[in-house]
Symmetry: D3
Subunit: 297 residues, 6 copies
């Protein structure tokens, strides 16, 4: 959740980076024609059906530029929205609205795109005991936004990063000398609040992982038959995640296997954006002029 704390500590620096990427010294076009502040208003409109996500981030872009900007929304994150639907309104100095527009929309469109795509995939798992998971295949410097969007779309989050989850893959197992040794070393080394997940490729490894006391077993690229056998071996002694070859087409079939989790990189690396735009910008009233502007040109 983007509560105030997360916003201040972890989100604001990223938004500022994005704004500086777009404005190296000034918005030349705007400053050419608008030397003075002028209060205005603009509507945020959906141009596709989907799930809206990232409203706080959208608003924050403008607020970071000018705390006097006011953003009002008619929906909330996770709501279904439809083409043509007005979902909000931004009020403030028109120069700020113009300068922040692209960055604010870049966030909102991508986050809504991921929520929409995730929602579509998650709905295929409805009714089953299987939960949909994301991965670490996120856009660099955008993980916090994309993991949140998955959750808003009805998915669940796998580990956030390499520090806060243990996932022992083939190379870790090889280095340790075997599944059992790897799990033992992880239990010895990792903070005890972390579960130990092991990625396995065949049934022998499944047996070893169960015996070693792995908390979660990830069945990598197994076919349905193999998955069923693995489930029998595991028999409730560990949680089960499957991954690889997950498509919209076969996911329904996979959900029938009774696994706990299916993870999909596509949620974050393949979701197209949801189209939204700012329309009907018009001047209104009068801006309470900022202190530093009072005497400028």
């Amino acid at each position: 959740m983007f509560d105030q704390v997360t916003m201040k500590l972890n989100v604001d620096p990223l938004i500022l980076g994005a704004l500086k990427e777009d404005i190296t010294s000034e918005d030349v076009s705007t400053n050419c024609v608008m030397p003075h502040a002028q209060q205005g208003e603009v509507d945020l409109i959906c141009k596709e059906d989907g799930i809206i996500c990232g409203l706080q981030v959208f608003a924050r872009v403008f607020e970071l530029l000018d705390e006097r900007v006011n953003v009002e929304f008619y929906v909330k994150d996770g709501d279904e929205v439809t083409n043509g639907q007005p979902v909000g309104k931004v009020t403030g100095d028109i120069r700020v609205l113009l300068s922040g527009e692209r960055t604010a929309l870049n966030y909102l469109q991508r986050m809504s795109g991921i929520a929409t795509y995730t929602h579509g995939v998650a709905s295929l798992l409805k009714g089953s005991r299987t939960k949909l998971l994301d991965t670490r295949k996120t856009s660099p410097n955008n993980r916090i936004f994309e993991k949140y969007s998955v959750r808003i779309g009805g998915g669940n989050n796998h580990r956030y990063n390499l520090t806060d989850g243990v996932m022992l893959k083939d190379n870790h197992i090889g280095a340790a000398g075997g599944v059992r040794q790897a799990v033992e070393m992880a239990k010895e080394y990792a903070p005890f609040v972390r579960k130990i997940e092991v990625e396995v490729e065949n049934l022998e490894m499944v047996t070893e992982a169960v015996a070693a006391g792995a908390d979660i077993i990830m069945l990598d690229n197994m076919d349905c038959e193999k998955i069923r056998e693995a489930m029998n071996i595991i028999n409730g002694k560990a949680e089960v995640e499957i991954s690889g070859n997950v498509t919209r087409e076969n996911i329904a079939k996979l959900s029938g296997l009774g696994v706990d989790y299916i993870s999909s990189g596509a949620l974050t690396h393949s979701a197209p954006i949801l189209d939204l735009s700012l329309k009907n910008l018009h001047a209104v009233g009068k801006l309470e002029v900022a202190k530093t502007h009072a005497m400028s040109i």
Copy 2:
């Protein structure tokens, strides 16, 4: 081009941010099982046909973690690659290879995805006088990578950001009091090395823009008929860009209109990734141990 200068000043800080996003304090899984450095090697393999892009960035991820890592490539940015093709090899401390893998691939997959997608669209314009342009609809904090990928894919770059290009849209024109005034104010205010682009919505505005001496005229959301009429009015006195409603389907038709540029946000906001992975990690030889490691556990 990512020459050494751009890499040092503008790319490195972003890669470091991405790495810190993935490693808050340590790679727990790796450190559980590998307390000591161990030299290893891993292959970079394509898993889809496409255009490779971002090799320098991929290599830089590992080099920023450990300057002793060596990355060798068998292809170069812009080359066509095919499913199964080995395209490079990374050699270094296995712990570094494991810790950097995801971030390096996240960059390479996305950049190659954009180059591949752009290449597909640009090839539809081949033979025409029309160039394909990107937009500012990029992932936040990834513009430098995505604009480069468009170029590698055969597209051209529109302005980099709000500071280095003048684009007068309806609101700027409204604020200025008309097309003529807006162009004049821009010529007065903006550094003289910038061309002045005006976005117009109808033929009256086209006429005004030409008269005002705009360098580039962007025809927004006009149909082919209107575009043809506009072209007649402009008659070579300004460059012409079209935008909006550009799809793979209609782009060929648009290219026949003789405009100078077609811009497409989809190049950066809709391109799926190109799948690549690191395979066959194995230990080799012996790592020349880093000074600070010599006496550690």
Copy 3:
């Protein structure tokens, strides 16, 4: 223009850097004698005739230290000011006024110095068609302030930096293989919103540059005779900039040549400061004590 957006994104970090340069841990002198907040007022006085510039930046220094400081100005950027004239007043905790004084004045004096100097040179071009340009010869980490000051003083800005303008010099031309090739490569590579400027040293190069379609031709260190010949060759097919050997003495003569632009590094690297100072600090009323101070000593 330093609108709110530029202030927040691009100016504030520089001002904070300047303040930290002057205050490593605390203002010892002030804290020795003033353990408590005390509301005060101080006058900003001109001590030389000139053009005032940088009022927003001056105010921002104090506001960044304490948002409750109030700054009032009786003039605006670009106004002529005279020795002895009061131009503003700062009200707030005296400790903040004392701690911010030097940094605020350092900005204001330098910016006003550049505006004043530029104003003097620009006035020599009055009546001609020639505009005065700055260069990139600015104080490190002060470009945004100095380019703005040039504009306020009546000059125009050349490119902001190496990224947002194309200027092909002898070495670029040599690397490309000739003027024509260089211009072609630039048109191919650079974002299409940029004009292409070529620096030429003799009339052959002028001819080539015109033929190649350069947008701007810079005549480097040519005497008046050569410039006249070059103007004949160019004949309106490109804009013309002259540079080098520009002095207050010969600039009037140069302005008669009908070139579009004269650029001068001296505007930013040789302008002396304009003297201003804070005077008559005195206590007034009572400060609404900051929350974090309420219970401190």
Copy 4:
């Protein structure tokens, strides 16, 4: 003193670093169960007798997370507090109170611990002419807090860092070629507002230091007899600091020697924390919902 200026420039960045150390992306526990803001109140209670110190810093932690938090104190830095005594109250969104609690207490406990310990040692010097000094043996990235705490506890500050004080030790003296040469070189090189301190190990060096015009002479690890002889040689021509082997047990004896200063690293590197805690968190009234929260889940 932590006035507003020091707080903004030098303290805030450190507190933000500490908060980010504790919150990488979100406070998961809190967000699990509190999706919405809820106004609450919590008491700050002492759990040991001692000297309170760091109240502003404690408050600032919460204010940096959410400016709407209100912190009220019943004591001020330097006051004696006793086990069980309520010393303040924090009011705000309960989620912010929970997320900031540990970081705020980590600062307050350590600062109060140092103030308490320093107070104990300084009281042993009461009545003598000798002042107690701290050293540079502070926790990395915490010097500003620890030096302040020493002062609040009744101690005095030695130089803040390597830049703002000259202390010529054996190696400096060796490099210069002798005490006299070292003092001369320091007077020549260092900004003239700094005193020159020399660390000496025997009486010959004392004599040389006095002759060379050292402002302060530090007697390193001398016994009382030697110190007395040194004092006779110095005879008021320089200030005298002693250091090394200073314990609670022998400090009273040392204070009788009439030296100006006794410095002790233990003040900052050995002080145990003073126990304080937040108790009785309970919901109250209703939070004025932040703009960005209005429409979130």
Copy 5:
């Protein structure tokens, strides 16, 4: 483990912060007397018995200042060291050795202090099934060093921060409406790789926590009798941590209760430093002069 990756991403920025805290613009004392580089050597000597910890960090301080410095150690982190024992040697430009000395020792002394203290407490648990845990009561901006030191001293790490571990305390339980609800909400919300820990104050809560499927139950401030009863209720269905009132005196008794973990804030907030120092600095050979120095004074 401080492998190369952690060092580059997470440790270096903190060390640089600490160095800048100590050197605002230059080391005046050193620069007074040593205008030129001079190769030297200095010994690192223990001055107390204990467990050494932080050698890599110590070395890194010098390497960040000058990559040509060489640090050699005769021991490794976790080794027992004794008063008077030489444990390493630093070779490089004497100016760098002098300027980095204090910061390097500040890290090493504190880290060794924590390792030594932890080792003492952990040895009291030897032979029992109970592991010793640290807490988040670390020095601000030093957690990564202090958690590592606990591990080197024979302790184990609890969660690293608020993001990577779930700990439901009384206020979380209150907000959720009960232990069961809190656990359910946490399982729903938190990434599935995290265990759920609940802090309980009485036996009813213990029963609820077990029923709700908590992974870890923390018994807060219970006496031995209560702990025994709680252990009976839990009966292996969850891991058990005890906390509060843990002293060197009663810890042996607590270890007999068969709990999984005992956590102690004192490991990081009360450990005194281990005294170490740099001795016998002397010039040797000749420094290969850095490029930028070649022509300086």
Copy 6:
């Protein structure tokens, strides 16, 4: 002195800021025509007589861009140089030489300008006992460079900033209640290694300052007659600084008064640059291609 330590900690971040100011994403002109690395060489030539200063900083600009650049100098900081004199040579990838040129020269020209101007003024004091001092009237974010240049030019440094020197001015004295009280409060509060300087405006204040034990007395804007009277009162009991109305014309007269110091803001705020340029860039040999470039276009 810019030793390695100062360079790494305090200078590098500023140079990087200046480079990023000039290169937002890439050097477009260079990249247009030079897609590949090409080893080259360029001469650094003086174009005016003066004192050279800032060679290390000049070199560092290139080294920060590419560590393989080699810079050789034929002079050292402080040397007199003459128009036309070659003073150094830079060798490396031509693209790096072109991209770094402006920033490197901006530093070198300004620093040499200040050294040259200071040298001129300082020579007027030769033979007297009076030393020339700088002030805090430096360009924002350039103090470290400008204070160093003053020293190289033969001047001395006053306090570096508000933290490391105590200067009690009229407002401090007013707040304290008088000169005596201000000096006492400063001696009580400021770290004891700092001298206490008092700024006085009349002879009564001089008398008070001497009585209060001020270490340095600054006579503000007094005429020669008043200064003489003040010197009589002070009579060696404090150091004496004069300031205000110092010009090249009257400084010789002032030096005859026997004061210890004369401070002048003009040294840093009025010094014109010393003209230097890079000439004769030409390709040589072959660059050892950087790893990340090996496979790029």
